[in-house]
Amino acid sequence: MVAPLTPGWQPTKIRRVVQCLDTGSDAVEVMTDAGPAFAKFLGNREGPHVLACEFVGTELAALLGLPVFDHALLPYDGVPEIALASGRRAEPGPAWITRREEGIRWSSQEDDLRDLDNPADIALLVLLDLWTLNCDRYRPEPPPPRSNPSNVFLSREGAPEGKLRLVAMDHTHILTCGRELTSRLDTIDRVQDNRRHGLFPGFVKAVTWDRALAARARLEAVDPAKVREIVAAIPREWSVESPVRSSLERFLEQRRNWLLQAFPGLVFDQPELFASSSTP
């Protein structure tokens, strides 16, 4: 296990339920013995693999250096019993849990990115979504585009006065867009998928050539062994079998290598204008 997931934050029990949210993964706002948090449980309507995706996506985001919520695996013992928004029951076993932060989802308007303390991280967030084929922030194709600015969170924590901090959140739909993970994750068409995942129209101006180059350097600095450790650390209770883990490892490695060649050109309409210069 990659442990502790967030040093210094490890709730051990859910004290009470605040509200059950009608989301795909049946998220629940809870109060833990380490304060307020959001939890996703086994038994959710989309199955255990969305928990594995959340785990992998969040850990990869942190590995790239993106801000993420404090997160942990909580050993849920079935108490209190929780009826999820879908009507299903939360099941005992490792639950994914993130510390609640105060803030707001992005409006989707380009101008509102001026409030960000870390605008350079926008390019890094796009690169994360490209790496993981995340369909749940922005996916341009097939038409109409799938756009979910709710998954771009602007946090009040850690930002200077008057500013907000971009945080990478909700990775339940990386890799397969909410479908089951299989041993065919590393097919060539997926490794070389050139759709511009993550590139909201409102992000385009913020992803400058320099920022994109800096983001690629972060991806290049990622140690492949760390990625394998993350995949190996997916809790076994989440039913990601060995052939699937192997396929996931291969996909992440091959996709990273492909992106190191294709990015940033992939997200610019006329990359040849920038390729010989460091600034747009």
Binding site: K13, I14, R15, R16, V17, V18, Q19, M31, D33, A34, G35, P36, D77, V79, P80, E81, I82, A83, R100, E102
Partner: protein, 269 residues
């Protein structure tokens, strides 16, 4: 500690106009079938109601009477409520100014402690995002101050109006020894330093204004804060203590509760 079980909790609110959906929390209710426990705890004062609704709140004595009615209704329902669904039906019957929220699940190990924690978190002055001290300072205070040796020397839930500001605050306990000593339990465990200092500053100002004005009986009064801090708040405690002292508020750390109890036992009348 008892074996953990699933219980339910509700928030009791004052909501004078349901169309507006504006409400002030007045109390909490806890139900644990496994422990055979159903109880409500309501605030003694009405400072939240006064702050939110001002003159719209109407006659506060009537509000107190309604709170008593609700408390007694919960007590009378002890035998009739055995399931969360029955609790939901009971809660739904309160459809006027005092309302009981739909039950939500909670983990119950010691229902009395959890009821005190809920009250502290949802009705007391605590900010929602703050973690809970374990055990909370209010519970530590309750265990010592409600021991038999202090019976008759200490009063519980004493409400006073802060001069100048005009807000009512409720001291958890009070004792008299030539002056009226108002004791408040405070958990300075907010995640942001600024929030801790803001809470301390508000308390200091309240205390200073109380100290400057004698009671209607002509005796002096002083606020005593029994405070707990998060484990990593080392450098904050001296700042809070100094701020309170400069405003005539006594600070007593959690470790000194027993000494305060001895002082009350020996000097209160």
């Amino acid at each position: 500690m008892n074996a953990p079980a699933t219980g339910s909790y509700c928030v009791i609110q004052y909501c004078p106009d349901r169309s507006r959906l504006e409400a002030a929390n007045l109390g909490v209710l806890l139900f644990s079938p496994a422990h055979g426990f159903l109880a409500a705890r309501l605030s003694q004062g009405n400072d939240r109601v006064r702050r939110f609704f001002r003159e719209e709140a109407g006659d506060l004595a009537q509000l107190n009477a309604m709170k008593r009615q609700l408390e007694h209704a919960v007590a009378a329902a002890q035998e009739g409520i055995r399931t969360p669904e029955e609790l939901r039906e009971f809660a739904a019957r309160f459809a006027n100014e005092l309302q009981i929220s739909a039950p939500r699940p909670l983990r119950v190990e010691n229902p009395e402690v959890e009821l005190a924690q809920l009250f502290d978190e949802l009705v007391g002055g605590r900010v929602r995002r703050d973690p809970v001290l374990a055990p909370p300072i209010a519970e530590a205070l309750r265990r010592r101050f409600e021991a038999p040796d202090l019976a008759g020397k200490i009063r519980k839930d004493v409400s006073v109006v802060v001069p100048v500001i005009g807000e009512e605050i409720t001291a958890d306990y009070a004792f008299q020894n030539g002056r009226l000593n108002l004791i408040q339990a405070k958990s300075f465990v907010q995640q942001r330093t600024a929030d801790v200092l803001r809470e301390a500053y508000k308390t200091a100002v309240d205390g200073h204004l109380l100290f400057q004005q004698p009671t209607s009986d002509g005796i002096g009064q002083q606020l005593i804060v029994v405070g707990g801090f998060a484990d990593d708040a080392g450098e904050l405690r001296p700042k809070v203590e100094a701020m309170l002292a400069k405003h005539d508020v006594q600070f007593v750390g959690e470790e000194a509760i027993d000494r305060l109890a001895e002082r009350i036992r020996d000097s209160a009348h």
